[in-house]
């Protein structure tokens, strides 16, 4: 299934589970999206910004030393080379252009660690549209640098003090603000989550990741990959790189969730692995919840994966079996982070390091014909201070020793 049904469902998942105040704004976005998607000039502007501003197509880098010894080939799809250092910008450009088209005067966004917030602030600055970012007060505190970056880019950051004061609460708040101000305001959601049409719309913006990745793989290797590996927070980089391959049954699709301290512990962030079906932020999908239906606090070393829900299309791909989902712990991700830095000269985002960890394992199982493309969803400069605190040095010794 490539498009959700008209109610926004991928199989059993998705939909529009929102208060009535949000129905009209969502319908307005859906209508504008459908018009824009049918308009070649819209896509031209999108692709022009991606190539001239973001620097697309992003490179495909063969990793010669990472994860050796192994037989299979590993290549990285380098979203870390994008302007602002992650795949997030692909999506924010698409939405900001839509907002412009709709005549909206302001962009709002939720952000966790600040990656999406920075990406929205960036395109807001570029297009001259004011940006307000909602961010959990706890996150504001611990991601001070990204907060400052957003301010440099001219955005206003609003600390959210409700709930757990983290990403899910920032998302709640952004929805609330949007409900109140939808007339002149566009809500830029940061992943393939939220109510219809967001999961579909964000995917369509992110599929550029594999649309050019597919071309490159054929040009470079004369064939398609055997395996695609991507980390899954909300799931946008994963769908970005999965989508063009969805009909190629021989291409295995792997989504890697954050196991945190382990999927058998409370400190985890892997809804597809250990969550259950429910409703969060406007759509039906897997989420981590209590027996009472309260959303659980999550944990992952990587802020971008530290989210209790997951995009509905992933729930569908899991159910249909088209994609497989695995989970990687904090420690495994850290080890892969270090191995990649030391063997490939690439400081990966901790999010992407989850995909690396699984790819490393897969590459040992696959034979010579294996061709594993990993989505390097972002660069890890943002994570280095945190990793240094975790005494990276000891880990480097472990990895390389």
């Amino acid at each position: 299934m490539h498009k959700p049904d008209e109610r926004g469902y991928f199989g059993d998942f998705g939909g529009r589970w929102v208060p009535e105040v949000l129905v009209a704004p969502l319908a307005e976005v859906e209508k504008a999206m459908n018009e824009a998607f049918g308009d070649p000039t819209y896509w031209e502007e999108f692709h022009a910004l991606l190539s001239e501003y973001v620097g697309r197509p992003s490179a495909l880098t063969v990793a010669h030393r990472f994860g050796q010894p192994r037989n299979a080939t590993i290549a990285f799809k380098r979203e870390d080379l994008n302007h602002t250092g992650a795949h997030k910008i692909n999506n924010t450009i698409g939405q900001a252009l839509l907002a412009k088209r709709m005549g909206k005067q302001r962009l709002i966004a939720e952000t966790g660690a600040g990656q999406h917030g920075v990406a929205v602030a960036t395109i807001g600055a570029k297009l001259g549209i004011p940006v307000d970012v909602y961010m959990g007060a706890v996150d504001v505190e611990r991601q001070a640098l990204n907060v400052y970056l957003m301010r440099l880019l001219g955005a206003t950051v609003h600390p959210v003090t409700g709930g757990t004061q983290t990403l899910k609460d920032a998302t709640n708040e952004a929805f609330r603000v949007w409900a109140a101000q939808c007339e002149d305001t566009f809500y830029v959601i940061g992943s393939v989550v939220g109510a219809h049409p967001y999961p579909f719309m964000v995917r369509e913006f992110q599929r550029i990741v594999c649309d050019d990745g597919r071309i490159q793989s054929q040009g470079r290797f004369g064939r398609l990959p055997t395996d695609i590996v991507a980390c899954v927070g909300g799931g946008s980089n994963a769908l970005g790189i999965f989508t063009a391959f969805i009909d190629d049954d021989n291409v295995n699709l792997w989504g890697v969730e954050a196991a945190g301290k382990g999927t058998n512990t409370a400190e985890t962030a892997a809804p597809l692995a250990v969550g259950s079906v429910g409703v969060l932020h406007g759509s039906r999908s897997f989420l981590l919840q209590t027996a009472e239906g309260q959303v659980k606090p999550t944990h992952s070393i990587s802020a971008g994966l530290d989210y209790p829900g997951v995009g509905p299309e992933h729930a569908y791909l899991k159910q249909s079996g088209r994609a497989k989902y695995v989970a990687v712990t904090d420690d495994e991700a850290l080890a892969a982070f270090h191995a990649c830095a030391a063997s490939e000269g690439i400081i990966a985002a901790l999010e992407s390091a989850h995909a690396l960890a699984y790819a490393q394992q897969l590459a040992k199982e696959r034979g010579e014909e294996g061709l594993i493309v990993v989505c390097m969803s972002g660069r890890g400069d943002k994570d280095v201070t945190q990793i240094e605190k975790l005494d990276g040095k000891a880990l480097v010794a472990e990895v390389t020793g």
């Binding site: 009535e20 709930g163 409900a179 239906g293």
Partner: protein, 272 residues
């Protein structure tokens, strides 16, 4: 059982006032307080109780109710002990709950338990018309009704469909945004109510942002009921102990209830 609700609106109408619907967060800050608050509120003249099931991610609620929910959850509120608040409450009780706790509990099981404890209906603010049917079916099957919300941005055709589906009353959202105490555009609200009035014979109750007697005075002629939430939560949450909380809630409800009484025709200037 829906007749309990009808009765409440009918009684208010007979007394030439709009009905007062009091929203209370169950278990905030503990069950004992809620018990006392419910009793006080009914005693003070609330016609209907909206009993809020606390939820950690309440998309439709502002900071006051969200914080009340957090307090209730921290104190260990569960659906089981929330249900137990219903039987002793001497006014019709409509549960107000986000959908996820219901789904997780099981919709059938939820409806059955709510019914058994004496609830008349359930409002689920984040179930849009499009998602409604299977849930409504389970709820109705168990003899509960589901009032639906209509927003100022809801287009006419859709609003009509909602009024045709809504039971008990039509919950009209007084403004864009969420619950809370920020200003309400009274003229806009009256237009909104008039629009819905043209669509349905069922009672109309307005909520979101109704917090003060003068607001009620201004709109009481346009609606059949007003829903007061955040203001009521503030009135009891600022007090220490169940008794003081009950007294705080009671004071506010008495005041608002007075405002619900429509003026004699002579003073009908307030109608315009």
């Amino acid at each position: 059982m829906a007749t309990l609700l009808d009765d409440a609106f009918a009684k208010a109408k007979k007394e030439d006032r709009c009905a007062l619907i009091a929203y209370v967060v169950a278990g905030d800050p503990d069950m004992e307080t809620t018990r006392a608050v419910l009793d006080a509120v009914v005693e003070a003249g609330a016609d209907i109780i909206e009993l809020g099931v606390p939820y950690g991610d309440p998309l439709a609620d502002g900071p006051t109710i969200a914080a009340a929910g957090q307090r209730a959850l921290a104190a260990g509120a569960t659906l089981e002990n929330i249900f137990r608040l219903i039987p002793g409450t001497k006014a019709p009780v409509v549960l107000f709950t986000y959908v996820n706790p219901v789904l997780q509990y099981g919709v059938e099981k939820f409806a059955l338990a709510a019914k058994r404890h004496g609830a008349v209906g359930v409002i689920v603010p984040d179930v849009s018309l499009e998602e409604l049917e299977p849930i409504r079916e389970a709820i109705r099957k168990n003899g509960l009704i589901m009032p639906l919300l209509i927003s100022p941005t809801t287009p006419d055709e859709r609003a009509k469909k909602i009024t045709q589906t809504s039971e008990g009353f039509n919950y009209i959202v007084s403004r864009l945004g969420v619950t809370g105490k920020d200003a309400v555009d009274v003229e806009g609200l009256k237009d909104h109510a008039a629009r819905v009035r043209r669509m349905t014979g069922f009672p109309i109750a307005a909520g979101f942002g109704i917090s003060k007697a003068p607001q009620i005075v201004a709109i009481r002629d346009s609606v059949d009921g007003v829903i007061v939430g955040s203001a009521l939560v503030e009135a009891y949450a600022s007090q220490k102990g169940a008794a003081a909380a009950a007294a705080g809630a009671s004071r506010l409800v008495r005041l608002l209830r007075l405002a619900c009484k429509r003026a004699a025709p002579a003073a009908a200037g307030a109608k315009g």
